[in-house]
C-alpha cells in the first residue's frame, strides 16, 4: 500500500500541493488502519503466512525442484508489533511535515521518499524471506539517506545523508554476503526453512557474525553509532522520527534473525553477552555524549543511541538465557518483553522529542541551546509535549518509559546486578540532560531576538499530538498494552518452533 502510494504521489502532486498532502495523509492513515487490522488478526489467530505467487509456501516448480521457491510474507507477533509502530510514526511524521516543509521546494519527492521509507519499515517486519529483508533494508537506506540530506542547502544535512548511505551500503553488503553463505549451504532463503535446516557449521557462525555486526551498525549501537547524530539531526521536516523508526526496525530484524533463524542452536551465552555489552556501551556512551551537546536535536539523537542500549540490554538478557527454560520463564521472557516494549515506547517518545526539537528549529532558525531561552511562554504546546517526552524517556513513574525500564531492570537484575546499576545510572543521567534542555530552551529569561516567536502551526501540533497521545495512552494502560501487544511479540521470538511450523507445516 505505501509503495503504491509512493509512486502515485508525484502524479497527484501535479494536481496541486493540497491534493498531494491530503493523498499522502490518507494513504498513511489507510496503512495505519490496515496494520491494526492485521495485528488484531494475528493476535487472535496466530501467525499469518502469505505466499507471493502461490497458494501455499511449499508448492514448488513442478518438474525438478522440491524446495520452497516462493517469497513469503509472514506476520507474527513481532511483525505486527513493529508494523504498528512504523505506521504510527510515519503518520505522525507526515502530518507534521505538512507545515514544516511548506517553504521547501521539491515536496513531491519528499513525500514519495517518506512513503517509501514507511513502506520499507513495514516490509522488513512483514517478510519471511532473507533476501526480501535485504531488499527492504536497501530501500530503507536509500530513502532514509535522501530524506536526511534533503535540505541540501545545509552542509550538515548533506554530510549526514552521505554518512548514512555509506554506512548502510556497507552494512547491507555484509548482510548480502551472509545471505550468499546461507544460500550456498542450504539452497534456501526462507527464514523458517533455514531455521529448520540449519546445522551450526563454521560458515553459519561467520554469517551470524556478519549479520549481527551489520544489523547492529544499521540500528546505531555503539561502536557503530557515529553516523546517528549526523544523520538524524538535520533530517528534514518530520522525518527524524521516521528514520529513527527505521533504525528500530533494523534492530527488530536483528532480533528476528537471532531468535527465529538461529534460535537454540547458537552458543547463546556468547551472543547474548555480545548483545548485552553492545547495549551497555550504547547506553553509557550515548548519554555521556549527550550531556555535552549544545545542539538540541543532536542531544536528542545521542539519547536515541542510549535508549537503544536499553532495548539491546533487555533482549540480550533474554537471549543469554534462552537455553535454560526455567530462567526463561522466570525472567527471560520479561526481559525480552521489556526490551521490545521499550522499542515502541521509544519510537513514540523519542519521536515526539525529535519533533519538538525540529519545532524549535522551525520557529527559531537555530538549534543552538546557548542562544535559546524562555520559549515556554511563546510555544506552549511544544513545551507541554517536550515535558511529556522528557519525563517518559527518563523513566519517571506515571509514564510508559518507567514501565518498560522497570521490566528491564527487574529481569537484568537476575542475570547480573551490575547491569541494572549501570542502567539506573544512565537513566539518571538522561533526566539530567533533559533538565538541561528544558531549562535552556523553555524556561529562563527571554532572548530579545526571539520575543516575537509564535507557537508552531497546527499540523505540527497534530503530528506531535499523535505521538504524545500514544505515549500517554501507553502510560495509562501499561498492563493492557503489555499483555496485548508486547508479550505476543516476545513469545513470537521465543517460540522458534512455532514460527517454523506455521510457515512450513501449515502447507
Amino acid at each position: 500500500m505505501p509503495l503504491l502510494a509512493a509512486f502515485l504521489t508525484p502524479l497527484v502532486g501535479r494536481i496541486g500541493s493540497q491534493a498531494r498532502n491530503t493523498f499522502v495523509i490518507v494513504a498513511l492513515a489507510i496503512v495505519q488502519i490496515l496494520v491494526i487490522i492485521v495485528a488484531r488478526d494475528v493476535y487472535a489467530n496466530g501467525i499469518h503466512v502469505y505466499t507471493l505467487g502461490a497458494a501455499l509456501p511449499s508448492l514448488a516448480i513442478p518438474e525438478t525442484h522440491m524446495v520452497p521457491v516462493r517469497i513469503i510474507l509472514e506476520v507474527d507477533g513481532l511483525g505486527a508489533f513493529m508494523g504498528l509502530m512504523g505506521a504510527t510514526v510515519a503518520l505522525a511524521g507526515a502530518i507534521y511535515s505538512i507545515s514544516c516543509m511548506k517553504l521547501e521546494t521539491g515536496q513531491d519527492r519528499f513525500y514519495t521518499l517518506l512513503l517509501l521509507l514507511a513502506a520499507s519499515m513495514v516490509g522488513i517486519q512483514y517478510t519471511g524471506d532473507l533476501f526480501n529483508l535485504f531488499v527492504f533494508l536497501e530501500i530503507l537506506s536509500i530513502s532514509g539517506a535522501a530524506l536526511a540530506g534533503f535540505r541540501t542547502r545545509f552542509v550538515d544535512a548533506v554530510e549526514g545523508g552521505f554518512k548514512y548511505v555509506i554506512v548502510s551500503t556497507v552494512a547491507a553488503l555484509l548482510v548480502l554476503i551472509s545471505i550468499g553463505m546461507f544460500y550456498g549451504q542450504y539452497n534456501l532463503l526462507n527464514i523458517a526453512a533455514l531455521a529448520d535446516a540449519m546445522q551450526y557449521t563454521a560458515i553459519d557462525k561467520i554469517a551470524l557474525a556478519l549479520l549481527v555486526v551489520a544489523l547492529l551498525t544499521k540500528s546505531g549501537a555503539v561502536p557503530s553509532h557515529w553516523w546517528v547524530p549526523d544523520t538524524y539531526t538535520p533530517a528534514a521536516g518530520g522525518t527524524s522520527p521516521i528514520i529513527y523508526g527505521a533504525s528500530l526496525t533494523c534492530l527488530a530484524a536483528l532480533f528476528r534473525v537471532v531468535f527465529s533463524l538461529y534460535g537454540l542452536k547458537l552458543s547463546l551465552s556468547l551472543i547474548g553477552w555480545v548483545v548485552i555489552i553492545a547495549g551497555l556501551l550504547s547506553m553509557f556512551v550515548g548519554v555521556t555524549m549527550a550531556l555535552r551537546q549544545t545542539d538540541v536535536k543532536r542531544l536528542m539523537t545521542y539519547h536515541a543511541i542510549s535508549q537503544e542500549g536499553y532495548m539491546l540490554l533487555g533482549v540480550g538478557v533474554g537471549l543469554a538465557v534462552l537455553g535454560d527454560p526455567q530462567a526463561v520463564a522466570a525472567y527471560g521472557r520479561e526481559a525480552i518483553a521489556g526490551g521490545i516494549f521499550h522499542v515502541i515506547n521509544n519510537a513514540f517518545f523519542k519521536g515526539l522529542l525529535l519533533l519538538t526539537g525540529e519545532a524549535l528549529f522551525f520557529q527559531l532558525g537555530t538549534r543552538d541551546l546557548n542562544k535559546m531561552g524562555g520559549m515556554g511562554r511563546n510555544m506552549k504546546w511544544t513545551c507541554a509535549f517536550f515535558i511529556i517526552g522528557a519525563l517518559a524517556i527518563s523513566g519517571v513513574p506515571p509514564f510508559n518509559g518507567f514501565a518498560s525500564k522497570l521490566m528491564i531492570y527487574e529481569s537484568s537484575f537476575h542475570l547480573n546486578p551490575m547491569l541494572t546499576i549501570i542502567a539506573l545510572v544512565v537513566s539518571v543521567m538522561t533526566l539530567a540532560s533533559f533538565t538541561k534542555v528544558f531549562q535552556a530552551a523553555f524556561t529562563g529569561p527571554e532572548q530579545p531576538e526571539y520575543a516575537q516567536v509564535q507557537g508552531v502551526p497546527l499540523s505540527m501540533k497534530i503530528g506531535m499530538g499523535i505521538l504524545a497521545g500514544a505515549t500517554v495512552l501507553f502510560s495509562l494502560f501499561p498492563q493492557f498494552v503489555v499483555d496485548t501487544i508486547v508479550y505476543p511479540a516476545a513469545d513470537a521470538l521465543l517460540n522458534q518452533a512455532g514460527y517454523v511450523s506455521a510457515v512450513m507445516g501449515g502447507a
Binding site: T64, V69, F131, V135, E138, S141, I142, A145, A146, G149, T152, V155, D156, V158, E159, G160, G161, F162, V165, I166, S168, T169, V170, A172, L173, L176, I177, I179, G180, Y183, G184, N187, L189, P229, D230, M289, R292, Q293, R298
Partner: protein, 117 residues
Amino acid sequence: MSTIVTNAPFIGVAALACVGLYIMLAQRNLIKIVMGITIFESAVNLFLVSLGYRNEGIAPIFTNATGTHMVLPVPQALTLTSIVIGVATTALMLTFIVLIYRHTGETDAKKSRRVKG
C-alpha cells in the same frame, strides 16, 4: 592445483573484497572511497554468482535445453537485484559528494568535515 582452479572464483572474491576494504578504509578522497565500496560490491556479486555454478551445467533456460543439468538460477536473480541496488546507491553517494563539494570545495574526507562531537 585443481583445487585452485575449481575455487578460482572464490579466490577472486576474496582478492576483490580485500582490495575494496582496503580502499574504503585507507583512502581519504571521497570519490575513491565510493570506488572502494563499488569494488567491494562487485566482490559480493561475484560471490553470489559463483555460488550457483554446477560443474558442466548449462544456462538455466528451459526452452531448447540440451539437458537438465543447469547452474542454479536463484543466485543469478539475487545478483541482478544486487547490481541494480548498487547502481542506485552509488548514484546517491556520488550525488552527495557533488553536494559536499559545492558546500566545502573539498573532496578530502578530513577537510570536508563540518560536524564534530
